[in-house]
Symmetry: C2
Subunit: 457 residues, 2 copies
């Protein structure tokens, strides 16, 4: 009996290791294909160079929908379809203007700013007023209406450079952009200037969405570069009554019909079990939207192409989803979850790439402990590729609405050190993406999808 | 007795963990200082933008010597001194010219090439001849004098894109550049064209040193971009007798007096035990030499500055060494080891940064098994910073001569995916370096030096 148990254990363990060897071989095939013949980079070239920036509602966003539809058809995916969704249509209008009006030392000081996404414009007369610097909402509340009314509020809390994960640093500062204008308006402010959410001191302003609170006056709002913010803060030390002028021509137009774009390979055994891999197709208007999130889109398409290229027939249905309107509304992500519920679809898992086309270092998963444990148990298969951080907690904005249906969500984690140099700027262009890093990311994602397809989650 | 042992073990383990906590805190201080107030990036800006490319023997190399000397004095290092060394003085001369002469399909096809470092020039008449493609020296030998004599040999073996470590891919292809011209000359070739050592298909030629063998005619040699090499290879399929012309104006001038630059903080307990951290000050002439190896130089200076900034007084003597002439002679590295032997210096360890200013991922060590084990045992202290590959085997060209004195050599390992886009090209400029990645590298190196100083090796 004891010998039998040992024999069974041996058999079992050798089966396991044969299986592991098979998985390692498949993953090696995926990486080889991506590194030698990957197509993410050339797809990204088209999306960025031939289409460009593609804010929701823009002609370029429509072009991106049609391009990704055609691209997935051309790759021979089993089904390619659109999910109609109404999206906000914000336009920046003419280039912004800003200046310090009355510096004692420097007189008029021009400043480079960009309007925040969704913000109202000042119109051609601009807005001018005394500018007052705050670090956070507590300080703002303390100053109160007495000190804020009729002024422009300058939110100047930097991202914490000491944090290794720059997304944590971003989270620690981003409420200034998202809620700052409305918070300032509560106390009667007439405009808001927000320090750019950047990990670097440079001259490049970063846009990004702001959300106006209900029943609070909508005031115009701009982001200023980190160097500009530092200079402004220095000037404020010398001048008690520094006046700031800015002019923006942004406006919110009526909603526009747009689409999520979905391509899928049907599962051979469990076609009704769906695994999603996606990114968002819309981008800000200032650049080509290469890292944010052209990279995630082309990598998601590439995941399906890689499976076909290595001759892997998935058991479950694998869907590449190009979500629309992540940047200023999340209408695509919401619509996708809504339709999944309406159609009673069963989603095994959803994986999103929305942290740029940088070097792959890990994945983070939100789900049950058992789901997390299972994913974490695959660590040895990723280690040979420098991917060393499989961890608990993670996902992505577009797939987050699926959490209400208990779908485990997984965030693809490229290294984050360079991301907030490009994020929402005018320099998030094709040239900022490295081919090997981008293709390695697609291979990492395909490997994860392969394992989820094979073993469930 | 048994209780006593347990008690001792507990005491010992709690002592250990208190020590580990202290080390973790010191390393956290190093990283905080580097991320918030690091000076590597501004040093690199000066070295690249104000001095620029600095091939051995050039005025810029002399400027770099003087700059690094002054910089280390300005930081208040205990001793700063020069080590005189004679170095080769190769100059590129006028811009190279190259073309396919007689393509049936395209006629004359201009090609972008750069002369290999140390190579002889063709002079104004250039060299012209039938071009013949080979993949390696075996193929060359097989063709022999009958097929090679009077022709130009085109070495076209690509770097293996499938290898995760691009330095391994480089090693697998670099003999074509280092020895190809002399190998071809053995069979009577009149010139050599070498496929650029790049991980990418693009239009950028990569220079780099070639070594002429003794008693073999020195023939002119150039590198061609990967796209150019692919095009040339395609043309060769259609044309049996494709002729190639190239013109280079390079020449080797008499040796020049130059210097290694050394700055040190004297050890408080063991001043005669030396720990080296270094990079090489010379670079190729085509660019500013930012990644190769401006990065390693400024990081090495920064290691000592970081120690002073966090108030750490090393027990051993820490030396930042700017080696001269790594690119085309290694005379500085050899001189350093020679002087170390002559002066009977005891070196605990030597660490080199010469793989670019990219994201830190590890260190590799060559030494005894005990030395390797000790270094590898520090892994947990590096894990919080994404540095996950402490491994056996490693070093650097400049510190390799110290191996004859049994000094353990350590190579700093940044991620390698992007390196061979910039290496030895015209685009290895300041703009190619990311500030956080560069400063993180300096912090990683400083942490390693701190541990070696504290515990020996």
């Amino acid at each position: 009996m004891r010998n039998l148990i040992i024999l069974l254990a041996l058999l079992f363990s050798s089966t396991l290791s044969a299986q592991q060897a098979q998985d390692a071989a498949q993953i090696r095939k995926i990486f080889d294909e991506a590194l030698e013949k990957g197509e993410s980079y050339e797809m990204l070239r088209y999306l960025t160079k031939n289409i460009g920036g593609r804010l929701s509602g823009s002609p370029q966003a429509a072009a991106a929908v049609e391009w990704s539809r055609q691209q997935m058809i051309a790759y021979g995916f089993d089904t390619v379809f659109l999910q109609p969704v109404m999206v906000p249509h914000w336009v920046r209008g003419k280039k912004e203007i800003a200046r310090v009006v009355n510096s004692k030392k420097l007189g008029t000081v021009p400043m480079d700013v960009v309007a925040l996404g969704n913000s109202v414009g000042t119109g051609p007369k601009g807005v001018v007023g005394e500018i007052i610097e705050v670090q956070d909402f507590q300080e703002l509340a303390k100053l109160g209406r007495a000190k804020i009314e009729g002024k422009i509020v300058f939110f100047n809390r930097p991202m914490d450079a000491k944090l290794m994960d720059t997304f944590s640093a971003y989270s620690g500062a981003s409420n200034q952009r998202g809620s700052g204008p409305s918070e300032a308006a509560k106390y009667g402010a007439i405009g808001a200037v927000v320090r750019s959410l950047s990990s670097f001191n440079d001259d490049i302003p970063h846009t990004g969405g702001t959300r106006y609170a209900l029943n609070i006056p909508k005031i115009p709002a701009v982001a200023i570069s980190t160097n500009g913010a530092n200079q402004l803060s220095e000037l404020l030390k010398d001048d008690q009554n520094l006046n700031f002028y800015f002019e923006t021509h942004a406006e919110m137009l009526p909603d526009v019909l747009s689409y999520n774009v979905v391509g899928e390979i049907k599962g051979s055994e469990f076609p009704d079990e769906i695994i999603v891999v996606g990114g968002h197709l819309d981008s800000w208007d200032l650049s080509e939207g290469a890292h944010d999130d052209g990279a995630g889109c082309v990598q998601s398409i590439e995941v399906l192409r890689l499976m076909k290229a290595i001759g892997y027939q998935p058991k479950r249905t694998i869907r590449a989803v190009m979500f629309m309107n992540e940047e200023n509304g999340l209408m695509g992500g919401r619509k996708y979850a809504e339709l999944a519920e309406e159609n009673e679809e069963y989603h095994v898992a959803a994986l999103e790439s929305d942290r740029g086309g940088f070097l792959p270092i890990g994945f983070g998963i939100t789900g049950t402990k058992a789901q997390q444990d299972k994913l974490l148990s695959w660590q040895p298969l990723f280690t040979p590729y420098g991917i060393h951080q499989l961890k608990r907690g993670g996902g992505g904005a577009d797939i987050s609405p699926l959490r209400t249906q208990d779908v485990p969500t997984i965030g693809y984690l490229p290294d984050s050190q360079r991301y907030f140099k490009y994020h929402h700027t005018g320099i998030d262009n094709f040239e900022a993406v490295n081919q090997r890093e981008l293709e390695l990311g697609a291979a990492a994602m395909a490997s994860m999808i392969y394992l989820i397809d094979k073993y469930g989650l």
